[in-house]
Amino acid sequence: MNTASLDATFAALADPTRRAILARLASGQASVTELAEPFAMSQPAISKHLKVLERAGLVSRGRDAQRRPRRLEAKRLGEATRWLERYRRLWEGNYRRLDALLEQLKTKETKWKP
């Protein structure tokens, strides 16, 4: 994933309505009409948001030519959040070692002060 497209992805994610649309699509594909329902927004306004999401590769169109359902591109969303995962994993590794160390220390303490 190059920097330019990553920028587009994060820019798309910066808007609360678009995040809500992604959240809705996480539970299954939906047509533009269905997506517009929970929002106090016109279909053209939703379509505009969808266009941004599509350009960012976060949403794609399903095969049904009538409904044109949109669906979440989960893989792309995963790529965009990998940085956070990397940071988390680094510290999870550290803290797992700390768990083990604390177990040793607890055992020592009991031995010293029965």
Binding site: L13, L77, Y87, L101, L102
Partner: protein, 163 residues
Amino acid sequence: MEALKLTTPSDREIAMTRVFDAPRKLVFDAHTKPDLVRQWLLGPPGWSMPVCEMDVRVGGKYRWVWRHDRDGTTMGMGGVYREIVKPERLVVTERFDEAWYPGEALNTLVLVEQGGRTTLTQTMRYESREARDAVLKSGMESGVKASYDRLADLLASPSQATR
């Protein structure tokens, strides 16, 4: 294994919360005694910590150096102890030898004990939002500037966002 919670309380901070099955005195020791620190604070696999010097008193300095065992790359950092309240609070500055984020960070460790278990919260405050973001996306190419503060929350609970 306990879950590590990662949040961004403000646009200059990263906070980590983790529960440990041990009294906080031991968790505090593990953060303030060099022979204990170098056993766990190692980062990714393949790194060791040949330098771990810590003068744990207010105004005292610490110096940590990690080394990649295979290619010999080293990474060093250090700072000053600003606040020490044993066994519940530790505030230190942090600066890397090779700056991969601008300026200095202020790290606050808070330990809360309940029923023999300790909740650790480590908050890292950076000089700017740019510095904070640089840390979060370390390992990635630079250039991402959009807001993604709430992204982690969105992913953790997709239904929240539509409410």
